[in-house]
């Protein structure tokens, strides 16, 4: 019954999405008619256009754009659907659909909501100061008569996150339900179970310990699957770039940081502020280093994930763009073939990276948690901590 309900909900969602898309298309049509004569209507043909397209892709966007094409009437058609914009302005909470910006990202289209005027520039929503009726910029191209509003919009990344959340609740809820009836799951659950076991047996238990890891399993499992699915979604043509958003990785790393600090036991703090078994002078010397270490660990987590995913996306898009950039040298077939071959090759690597980054993030999180909750029974155990750091350093490289 539950399953039937889910199916109904899913199809209802699909229907709503497609009807929204239809409406968007109608809407876009008249919008696009008057931008057709703009210098380039979303066509990506030159190196600068490719660069700006990639840069744009790496940013979080406010509408879900699938693809664009030029129809017979020489009109540019964008296929996608708008996402809700939820912003906190000086006049309070404002919500509207992102279609009101008409795909504008240069701050030209102004949206009037009550007494506030909003503009979107480089994927950020600005509130223009009272009195002004156009967004002006300083010499560094930063808006100087507007300020960034608090943007709680369902952006593409938030949409992706919600999708991942639903997916995870569905997948693991189903798996959990299976165990009520049988001890060995069947179907897709049979593939999920080893992954759950992998997180537990390869990441949590060796680093935290069998008993202590129980408390942290929900966090580690959720984070592992969230990052992994987000990474994999980033490889689909839907064009998500969730884990390549610095805000997302900062949030994930901050969670690990908070969990580590709040679960650190006496030994953990003692190893930071008064390292045992070293001379007094060294103890004093080690305090700032260890204090810095508290912050560098989660910082390395957030930078590693962000940089790996961003680099992957940039390289894949750059290789896809080879079909354009190498057209003159190799011809259409040659450049497309080369692009296809290299992209395929890199996609395989990215598939591995998608898993690897989720794995490393979860592994290091559990390692940091394990170091914070470890019991040091004997003085010689302090050595293992150092070894762990060495292993971590090796992994950093």
């Amino acid at each position: 019954m539950f399953r039937a309900y889910l199916k109904t909900a899913f199809f209802a969602l699909l229907l709503a999405a497609s009807s929204g898309m239809q409406a968007q298309d109608d809407h876009l049509l008249d919008h696009d008619v008057h931008v057709t004569d703009a210098e380039n209507d979303g066509r990506v043909n030159t190196k600068d256009e490719i660069d700006s397209y990639i840069e744009h892709h790496l940013k979080d966007v406010h509408d879900f754009h699938l693809f664009s094409f030029t129809n017979d009437a020489n009109e540019r058609i964008h296929v996608g659907f708008p996402l809700p914009v939820i912003v906190w302005t000086t006049e309070g909470l404002k919500t509207f659909m992102s279609s009101e910006f008409h795909h504008d990202d240069s701050g030209e289209v102004l949206v009037q909501k009550g007494d506030v005027t909003l503009a979107k520039y480089h994927s950020k929503i600005y509130e223009i100061d009272n009195g002004a009726n156009v967004l002006s910029f300083d010499e560094e191209l930063h808006p100087n008569n507007a300020y960034k509003v608090l943007d709680f919009s369902i952006t593409k990344s938030v949409f992706g996150l919600l999708l991942i959340g639903l997916l995870m609740v569905f997948m693991f809820g189903t798996l959990a339900k299976q165990y009520k009836k049988r001890s060995i799951p069947k179907g897709f659950g049979r593939a999920l179970e080893p992954l759950v076991l992998y997180v537990r047996d390869e990441m949590a238990r060796p680093n935290i310990g069998v008993e202590k890891s129980k408390k942290f399993m929900p966090y580690l499992l959720t984070v592992f699957f969230m990052i992994w699915i987000a990474n994999l979604l980033g490889l689909t043509p839907l064009g998500f770039n969730i884990t390549g958003q610095i805000s997302i990785t900062v949030c994930l790393a901050l969670f690990t940081f908070v969990i580590v600090q709040f679960n650190g036991n006496k030994d953990y703090w003692k190893h930071i502020f008064w390292m045992p078994d070293v001379p007094i002078l060294m103890k004093i010397f080690l305090i700032p280093i260890e204090l810095l270490g508290i912050f560098t660990k989660p910082f390395s987590l957030l930078v590693r994930l962000f940089a790996n995913i961003t680099a992957g996306h940039v390289i894949v898009m750059g290789l896809v763009a080879l079909t354009i950039t190498l057209k003159e040298q190799f011809g259409v077939v040659g450049s497309t073939g080369l692009s296809l071959f290299l992209t395929l090759f890199l996609m395989v690597i990215e598939l591995l990276v998608a898993f690897l980054q989720a794995f490393i993030f979860t592994l290091l999180s559990s390692l940091f948690i394990g170091m914070a909750v470890a019991e040091h029974d004997h003085p010689e155990h302090t050595g293992t901590g150092e070894e762990d750091v060495d292993i971590v350093r090796e992994r950093f490289v």
Binding site: D151, G165, V169, S183, P218, L252
Partner: protein
């Protein structure tokens, strides 16, 4: 770096935090907890089953050993019994032989005694008959002597021949 900080969106950060917290709580309660406890139960079950199998194996070995011991004991007992039986048999045979010997000896002794007694009796009878015969002969001889000497002697011979003992 400046661009990164510029790219940082507090809104997206907040949304991610909210989604993550909700997911951790929701999945923690409805997915991870039942999944992990089911896995733990299953592993415990497997471990228990393995331990039970190991116990059963040990028990089997122990039973086999005790069976073997019992069989050994039974065999030993049987051997002892067989030995005893053989001894008893031999003893019985030898006893019977001795007894039979004794009985036979007694019978022979009795028979000899009886023979001896019969012999004596016979001898005594013969003696008495001889004496009677002697007396008869002597009487007849005496009667004949009175008549003739030769005839007397012939008669004695005749009589002696008659008195065939």
């Amino acid at each position: 770096m400046e661009e990164l900080i510029n790219d940082f969106s507090p809104g997206l950060f907040a949304m991610q935090a909210i989604v993550l917290i909700i997911l951790i709580i929701l999945l923690g309660k409805f997915a991870w907890k039942p999944i992990l406890s089911a896995l733990d139960d299953r592993e415990q079950g497997i471990a228990d089953a393995l331990a039970a199998a190991e116990d059963a194996k040990l028990e089997m070995a122990r039973l086999e050993a005790s069976n073997e011991a019992a069989a050994q004991e039974a065999r030993a007992q049987r051997d002892v019994m067989m030995k005893d039986a053989r001894e008893i048999k031999e003893k019985m045979i030898s006893d019977a032989t001795i007894q039979a010997q004794e009985k036979a000896d007694t019978i022979i002794a009795n028979a000899q005694e009886a023979i001896l007694a019969e012999k004596k009796a016979a001898l005594a009878d013969i003696k008495s008959q001889v004496a009677n015969l002697s007396v008869e002969i002597a009487e007849k001889v005496t009667r004949q002597q009175l008549s003739e000497k030769d005839a007397q002697l012939a008669l004695i011979d005749k009589m002696l021949a008659e008195a065939n003992i």
